[in-house]
C-alpha cells in the first residue's frame, strides 16, 4: 500500500526544496485517505497527478507583484530626465560652460583634422582606374648608397610598352616647365609638362574638347586646361584648333581642352605638350644612361604587379651601359595611389613620407578628444556629491542601476550634442583660415552620408567616453549611505580622477614639447647659414631675349646702380638633383662609380652667391681657358682625395680639365639630405635657365625696378617675372611650416582644454573645503599658506605628468628629426621649458580659484550652519 516510488523520487528531485518535506507528508496522508475512499488504483493515479503538478516547472509560483513596476521610458520619466538635466545645466553655469566649450573645442579640432586627413588621403586617388596606375621608380645603387628617384630614361615608356604584355598604356611626364604663352594681346607665363600620347587614356581627366586618342599624338599638339582656354579664347570649344605661341618662338595647336585639375591632383600642369617633341628637343634623354622624366604605366587589371616588378628589376641591365659590378639601377613600381603619401625612400625601401603627418594628426585628434572627454569625466565625478542625493532618491523609489546608467549617459550625450553643434559652427567659421594655412580647399561635406556617419560616430564615441565613468560611478552609489549623508569617495575613485589629470597633462606636455622642437627646427632651417648668402639674391627665369642675349643683358645689368654681380645657373640654386658618375681623376679606382651632383654656371658664380672659396679662384673671363676648368666643393675634394686640389687634373664625361677652385660646402639641396660632392662647369655661352643677380643690401627695390625696365626693353612681348631666392627657400619647407603652425595651434588648444578641466576641479575642491578654509583662517592661517595648501595637490600631479611625458616626447621628436640631415639637438631645456610652461599655466589656473577661496571672509563660510 505504498505510493509509487518513482513518483517520490521525482518529487524529491524536482520538487521545491523548501516545501518538500511538508508536501511529502501531506501527500502520504492523502494517499492513505484516497486508498480508503476510492481504491488503490485510483489513489495511485491521483497521487502521480499531484506529484507531477507539484514539480517545479509546473508548480512555479506565478509572479505575483503587488505594486506596479516603473516603466523607465515612460514619457513622464523622460520628461523628468530632461528637466533634471536641464536644471543641472542651468544651475552650474560655470561647469556646464567648461564642459561644453572643452568638448566643442576638442571636437572642432578633430573635425578639422579629419577633413585635412581625408583630403590628404584623397590626393592622387581620383582616377577611375587608379588601382591599375603605377609610377616607375628607380633605385640607383652606387658607392654603397641607394638613391631612389623617379628620373627614368626618356625612352623607357615606349620600350616597356613593347616588352611587357601587362602594360596597357604607358606615358612619360617631363618635369614642370614655365613658358610664356601668347595669343594676340594675352600674354602670360604658364607652367606645364610634356606627356606621352597615352596620357589622357590612362588618367581619367575629363576632356571638354578633343579626344584622348588625338590629344597629344602629333609633335605640335597642345592640350590646355579649361582655365587657359577661358583666359585665351573665352571658352573650351572655341579654343580647339587655335594656336598658341610659346616663348614668342614656336606655335602649338590646341588639340584638346581638359577640365581644370582638381586641387587634390598630384601632377599639376596647365598645359601638356607632345612627348616626341620633348625627346627631339632633349636628345640626351634618348640614351639609356641618362634619366630625367617620370614614367607612368597602366597595367592590365589582371596583371600581377609583383611579377612586373621582378622583371623590371633587371630591365636596365644590358641597356644602360654604365651598369657594372659597382653601379646598378633597379626599376620598380609604385602604385599611383601611394605616390603622394609614401614618397620617402631610404636604402631603396619605402620609408614614410606625408603619411607620417597624417598619422601624427590622427594621434593629435585623439589626444584632444581624450583631454576634453577626461574634463567631462572629472568634473562629473567630482561633482557627484551633489548629484548623489538625486541618485539616492531615485534608487529608493525604485530606479534600477541600468536606468540610472541610461540617464547619465543620456545626459552626457545631450551635452555632447550641444558641443557638437557648436563644434560644427566653429569649424565652418574657421575653415577659410584653416584652408589658407594649409593651402587646401576643404569644405564641410554636408551632402555626404559618410560625413553624417562620422558626426554620429564622433558624438557616440565622445559622449560615450565622457559619460561612461560618471554613469557607472554614480549609479553604483549605495542609497542608504548617500541619504544618511555619510558619502565618502573611495580612494580608488580619487586615484582614478588624479590619474586622469596626470594623463591629460602628459598629453599636453607631449604636444608642447613637440611644438617647441618643430618650431626650433624650422627656426634652425630658416636661419641656417647655407654656405652662401641667399638674401638680396634675385632669380630671373631665362626666357626670350633676356636669355638669348645674355652677355649684353649682363653687361647692361652691371651698369645699373645697386647691382653687384650677375651669373647664371642651369639648375635651381635650391634644388639641384642632377647627378652623374662620369667624373674621373688620377688615381681613382676604375671600378668605383661615385655620384657627383653637377651644374653649369656662368662667370662670377662664387662672387654672386658669396660662396667662400677655400682655395683657388672663381670662374673669371680674365683667364681664357676656364671652359674646361672645374669648381668643386669641399665634399667633392674630400672624395677625390687630392692633397692640393687646385691645378690638379679632373675629367668630366670625356672633357679633361683642371680644378681651379675649392668652395666651402654649401647647401644646393634641401636640408633633408646631406651635402653631396658637387662639381661645377663653366658654360657662359650656354642657355641660361636661371639668371641670378646679386643686389646691394638696401638697394634691392631700386635695383629691381631698373631690372624690370631692362627686361621689358629686351622682352617687349613677355611679362617680367622674378623671385627672391630666400623666399623660394622658405617655400621648400612649406609642409614643415604648415605642420609647425598646426601643431602650435593644437598644442595651445590641448593645454587650454586641459586647463579648463583643471579650473573646474580647482573650483570644486575650493568649494568643498570652504569650511576647512574658514576654520584655518579663524585659527590664524595666512592667505599664502591656504593658497599653497590648495595648489600643492594639483602641482604634484602635474609634476608627475611632466616627468612621465619627457622621455616619451624625447623619443617621438628624435624620430621626427631623423628626417633631416641637418638638425637641432633636443637639449634638456626644452623639457624644462615645456614643464615650466605646463606648471606655470596650471598654477595660474588653480591660483585664481585658490586665492579666491583663501580671501573669503571666514565669517561668511562658517555662518551657514
Amino acid at each position: 500500500m505504498k505510493p509509487p516510488r518513482w513518483a517520490n523520487w521525482l518529487l524529491e528531485t524536482f520538487g521545491h526544496p523548501d516545501t518538500k518535506e511538508e508536501v511529502q507528508g501531506d501527500l502520504f496522508e492523502l494517499y492513505a485517505y484516497w486508498v480508503a475512499r476510492v481504491g488503490e488504483r485510483k489513489a495511485r493515479w491521483r497521487y502521480i497527478r499531484s506529484v507531477l503538478k507539484l514539480l517545479r516547472p509546473l508548480a512555479k509560483r506565478k509572479p505575483v507583484v503587488d505594486y506596479s513596476t516603473p516603466f523607465y521610458l515612460h514619457p513622464d520619466m523622460l520628461r523628468n530626465y530632461v528637466k533634471i538635466a536641464w536644471r543641472n545645466l542651468i544651475r552650474n553655469k560655470a561647469f556646464s560652460a567648461i564642459n561644453i566649450s572643452g568638448l566643442a573645442l576638442g571636437m572642432a579640432a578633430s573635425l578639422l583634422i579629419f577633413l585635412w586627413i581625408q583630403d590628404e588621403l584623397s590626393v592622387g586617388t581620383q582616377y577611375t582606374n587608379g588601382s591599375n596606375l603605377y609610377r616607375v621608380m628607380e633605385n640607383e645603387i652606387a658607392d654603397g648608397r641607394i638613391v631612389t628617384d623617379e628620373d627614368t630614361p626618356g625612352i623607357l615608356t615606349d620600350e616597356l610598352k613593347k616588352q611587357f604584355p601587362e602594360v596597357v598604356h604607358a606615358a612619360g611626364l617631363s618635369s614642370k616647365e614655365g613658358h610664356i604663352l601668347t595669343v594676340g594681346n594675352t600674354i602670360a607665363r604658364q607652367t606645364g609638362c610634356y606627356a606621352g600620347s597615352d596620357w589622357f587614356k590612362m588618367y581619367s581627366i575629363q576632356l571638354l574638347a578633343g579626344t584622348p586618342d588625338v590629344a597629344l599624338n602629333a609633335p605640335n599638339n597642345l592640350a590646355i586646361s579649361r582655365k587657359l582656354a577661358e583666359t585665351y579664347f573665352g571658352d573650351a570649344q572655341s579654343a580647339l584648333g587655335k594656336s598658341i605661341r610659346f616663348d614668342n618662338a614656336t606655335d602649338y595647336q590646341v588639340t584638346a581642352v581638359f577640365e581644370n585639375l582638381p586641387h587634390n591632383s598630384l601632377d599639376k600642369y596647365e598645359f601638356l605638350l607632345n612627348w616626341d617633341n620633348y625627346l627631339k628637343h632633349n636628345p640626351w634623354l634618348t640614351v639609356w644612361e641618362n634619366g630625367g622624366p617620370d614614367t607612368r604605366l597602366e597595367l592590365r587589371p589582371d596583371a600581377d604587379p609583383a611579377k612586373v616588378n621582378a622583371k623590371l628589376k633587371t630591365f636596365l641591365k644590358g641597356r644602360n651601359k654604365d651598369i657594372s659590378a659597382t653601379f646598378n639601377i633597379e626599376l620598380f613600381l609604385q602604385p599611383e595611389t601611394e605616390a603622394y603619401l609614401y614618397s620617402n625612400f631610404k636604402n631603396g625601401q619605402r620609408d614614410g613620407g606625408r603619411i607620417e603627418y597624417v598619422r601624427l594628426f590622427i594621434i593629435v585628434a585623439v589626444f584632444l578628444l581624450l583631454i576634453a572627454g577626461i574634463n567631462f569625466m572629472n568634473l562629473a565625478t567630482a561633482r557627484s556629491a551633489k548629484r548623489a542625493r538625486e541618485v539616492g532618491v531615485r534608487k529608493v523609489v525604485g530606479a534600477e542601476r541600468s536606468s540610472l546608467i541610461g540617464q547619465f549617459m543620456g545626459e552626457a550625450l545631450l551635452l555632447t550634442i550641444i558641443a557638437l553643434e557648436l563644434a560644427v559652427a566653429l569649424v565652418s567659421l574657421l575653415l577659410p583660415v584653416f584652408n589658407q594655412l594649409t593651402d587646401k580647399q576643404l569644405t564641410l561635406p554636408f551632402n555626404q552620408p559618410f560625413f553624417w556617419l562620422l558626426l554620429t560616430g564622433l558624438l557616440l564615441v565622445t559622449g560615450g567616453l565622457a559619460g561612461s565613468y560618471p554613469a557607472l560611478f554614480l549609479s553604483s552609489l549605495n542609497p542608504v549611505r548617500i541619504l544618511k549623508g555619510t558619502l565618502r569617495f573611495s580612494a580608488g575613485a580619487q586615484l582614478f580622477r588624479r590619474g586622469l589629470v596626470v594623463f591629460q597633462f602628459v598629453l599636453s606636455m607631449l604636444m608642447i614639447v613637440g611644438t617647441v622642437v618643430v618650431y626650433r627646427q624650422l627656426q634652425y632651417i630658416q636661419t641656417k647659414n647655407l654656405g652662401y648668402d641667399r638674401e638680396n639674391l634675385i632669380s630671373i627665369p631665362g626666357v626670350g631675349e633676356v636669355a638669348g642675349k645674355y652677355p649684353t643683358f649682363k653687361q647692361e645689368l652691371l651698369q645699373l646702380p645697386g647691382i653687384q654681380s650677375v651669373t647664371h645657373m642651369m639648375t635651381s640654386p635650391l634644388e639641384n638633383g642632377n647627378t652623374t658618375d662620369g667624373v674621373h681623376w688620377e688615381g681613382k679606382d676604375p671600378t668605383l662609380a661615385i655620384q657627383f651632383n653637377n651644374t653649369v654656371v656662368g662667370y662670377d658664380f662664387a662672387k654672386t652667391f658669396k660662396v667662400k672659396l677655400l682655395q683657388g679662384r672663381d670662374f673669371s673671363p680674365a683667364f681664357g681657358t676656364d671652359s674646361s676648368n672645374y669648381l668643386i666643393n669641399q665634399a667633392a675634394a674630400k672624395r677625390i682625395g687630392y692633397k692640393d686640389p687646385v691645378g690638379q687634373p679632373l675629367t668630366f664625361g670625356n672633357q679633361p680639365g683642371k680644378i681651379v677652385g675649392v668652395m666651402e660646402d654649401f647647401h644646393f639641396q634641401s636640408l633633408h639630405v646631406a651635402i653631396r660632392p658637387l662639381i661645377i662647369r663653366l658654360g657662359e655661352a650656354w642657355w641660361p635657365n636661371n639668371i641670378l643677380v646679386r643686389t646691394q643690401p638696401g638697394q634691392t627695390k631700386q635695383a629691381l625696378a631698373s631690372i624690370e625696365a631692362l627686361c621689358r626693353k629686351l622682352n617687349s612681348r613677355l611679362p617680367f617675372s622674378y623671385s627672391f631666392v630666400d623666399a623660394d627657400y622658405q617655400k621648400l619647407y612649406k609642409s614643415e611650416t604648415v605642420v609647425g603652425t598646426l601643431s602650435t595651434i593644437f598644442a595651445c588648444l590641448a593645454i587650454f582644454i586641459a586647463c579648463l578641466g583643471l579650473f573646474g576641479l580647482a573650483a570644486f575642491t575650493a568649494e568643498q573645503r570652504t569650511k576647512e578654509i574658514g576654520v584655518r583662517k579663524v585659527l590664524g592661517a595666512s592667505v599664502a599658506s591656504i593658497v599653497a595648501l590648495l595648489s600643492t595637490d594639483f602641482l604634484k600631479l602635474i609634476m608627475i605628468a611632466v616627468v612621465t611625458a619627457s622621455p616619451i616626447a624625447w623619443y617621438v621628436m628624435n624620430r621626427w628629426l631623423q628626417n633631416f640631415a641637418y638638425k637641432i639637438d633636443i637639449s634638456w631645456w626644452v623639457f624644462a621649458l615645456a614643464g615650466l610652461l605646463a606648471i606655470g599655466i596650471a598654477l595660474l589656473t588653480i591660483s585664481f580659484q585658490s586665492i579666491k577661496a583663501a580671501l573669503m571672509n571666514p565669517v561668511k563660510s562658517l555662518r551657514s550652519e
Binding site: 516545501t19 491521483r46 503538478k53
Partner: protein
C-alpha cells in the same frame, strides 16, 4: 500579471483556513473544501494557492 484582489478559489482556500484555524494544513484544507463544496479539488492546486 498585476492584480491586488483575490480570486474566487483563493477566497475559498482562505476562508477554509480561517474555519479550520489551528488544524489547517494542506490535507485538511483539501478535504474540507471537498466535503463542504462538493467539488473535487486537487491537493497540488491547494498547495500552490497556499
Amino acid at each position: 500579471m498585476k492584480r491586488a484582489f483575490l480570486g474566487e478559489f483563493e477566497e475559498v482556500v482562505l476562508l477554509t483556513v480561517a474555519v479550520l484555524d489551528e488544524s489547517a494544513y494542506g490535507v485538511t484544507i483539501t478535504q474540507e473544501i471537498e466535503q463542504k463544496t462538493g467539488r473535487s479539488v486537487g491537493f497540488s492546486t491547494v498547495h500552490t494557492t497556499l
